[in-house]
Subunit: 362 residues, 2 copies
Amino acid sequence: MKFYSKKDVKSLKRYGAKELLNFCTQVLVKLGVEEEKAHLLADTLVQANLRGVDSHGVTRMGIYVERIRRGLVDPHAEPEIIKDTPAVALMDAKSSIGQVASYRAMQLAIKKAKEIGTGLVGVRGSNHFGAAAYYTMCALKEDLIGIALSNAPATMAPWGARSPYIGTNPISVAIPSNRRLPIVFDMATSIVARGKIILAAQKGESIPEGWAIDTEGRITTDAKKALEGAVLPFGGAKGSAIAILIDIFAGILTGAAFGPHIGDLYRNLKERQNLGHVFAAIDPRAFGDIEEFKNRVDQMIDEIKGLPPAYGVEEVLLPGEIEFRTEEVRKREGIPLEPEVEEMLKALGKEFDVPWIEPLFG
Amino acid sequence: MKFYSKKDVKSLKRYGAKELLNFCTQVLVKLGVEEEKAHLLADTLVQANLRGVDSHGVTRMGIYVERIRRGLVDPHAEPEIIKDTPAVALMDAKSSIGQVASYRAMQLAIKKAKEIGTGLVGVRGSNHFGAAAYYTMCALKEDLIGIALSNAPATMAPWGARSPYIGTNPISVAIPSNRRLPIVFDMATSIVARGKIILAAQKGESIPEGWAIDTEGRITTDAKKALEGAVLPFGGAKGSAIAILIDIFAGILTGAAFGPHIGDLYRNLKERQNLGHVFAAIDPRAFGDIEEFKNRVDQMIDEIKGLPPAYGVEEVLLPGEIEFRTEEVRKREGIPLEPEVEEMLKALGKEFDVPWIEPLFG
């Protein structure tokens, strides 16, 4: 995967979300995935692209197809609930498509939250689930708070260590609002996407101090040495602890793999990943009036956006605000695809006899 | 409050935990607090000192006594459960002692978790609750995972803003283990304790870039300008978002005050704080065998501690490890008290006719 600067992006061809969704769905159906599952998986990818999270968009089609083809992801497996209380459940994803297990687990958490105030659903035996915000935003439709966590293959050194042990374990939280856009927080626990270090190495540029360590565990500004070493967690020791805790919830509590025992998405094409996730929903109605809750969220957003911006900052932004703006633009102007992603998708189309689509622009 | 460097601490008098606990309890009883509540409040303070978290130890006795005396904290108020499902509850603390409401809320979360797998209890109308780890560690006694969040008076600027809006909103998570020490994570969401900036200003030293901004919203290394400006959240935009989310849970969801509407502990001696907290407990038994869970936690700890340390680091440490070591030392060698804290306690003893205690050492 190559990484493009913002300037490069303007020259890219842009495709319609609907067309991309149909294309990806058809490829997956031809591969043997049931229509409903294919559509869901494709939708998570295209939604990520629409929101500007291209790292979790259709660029993943190649590896997903490859893992299904190798039998590492079983599209026909049906996730099973193996433990259940009115508030908590544990799902064995049985190495089904990560998005299918995750979507169902989130729906179960939502159902429980509506019945009893909160729902907590762990998933083991799963695969890469895409962008976490897809699931937490499902809770918004019901005016619930949504939470999603996942572990990930080891690429980060815990604080004080020199070699990778924890993944860039993501966490997303979505908060319903009224007049205002909802708050949709979705972050990796690394200080920076590994892709930015790859880009710097390609360009021969140095990286800021604090992003990564070399193989000796020394802070390095040399992008190449950083790639041989380990990415650092965000927020120093505190962020490192948060990444570890996410793995304890998503990996250890659920009975999935954890730490370096998780199969790598790209580099391990022989074993199942056995990822773990946790999904939770909380119903503000269990605490009081839902309109009052949403109005108070609006009030906080109004107040934070009304604060004087810091030096050099144009506007104070809430979590998710940039993604909502990108979505608005891309719904209108299409999703820009890097040539490599385009080529990969075209090749899939050729292989599975699905006609490639025309760009909206470019 | 003055701040001491580690070197200074060696010259301090050290007191026995039991003696300090008895002294503080007696002062509170003489003030009119019921024995059980007085003992609980004093215990949270002395436990914090034992664990080396002196900022949340007996140094707080002065302000707690002052707020009770002014009627801002009502020691006789009984926290009331105003909403209740088998999994979720909301407590109105009625401005009772923050520690009393918090301890009861955590016990209720534990009870629910044991019955149904998880318990989530929000608290509104509360006061400063001390160190969050006190409550999450209650869950450890039952082999449950404990979680505690609180909001706090506004001292931090949200990412991109120049003036304070959010508090240093703490979060604690405690994870039970088997052979190994449990993982006890307890952090403020600020990049650094404000006290460290006060210390630098006192000494005329500069502070590292990234700790704080001045009143114009510029990153400053001038400790005095930092104190006039705002402390920054840990972990940049990500940490800022986490601090905001904690306030949404602890403040907005519970119906407590939030953001700058929270009464300041020290600077506002006319109004109640109306703080909010959230306590949660999760029973690993709802997901599988408890021994297996704890053994997997041990395995992760073994593996992380077995990683090669980063350059200049002697030992890879897990969250809470330093505090357990400090506790071991201080149980044996006593709790060092700064002269100002000693004087404040002596004065309270004199006022309430409680004899001051002898140091173990020094």
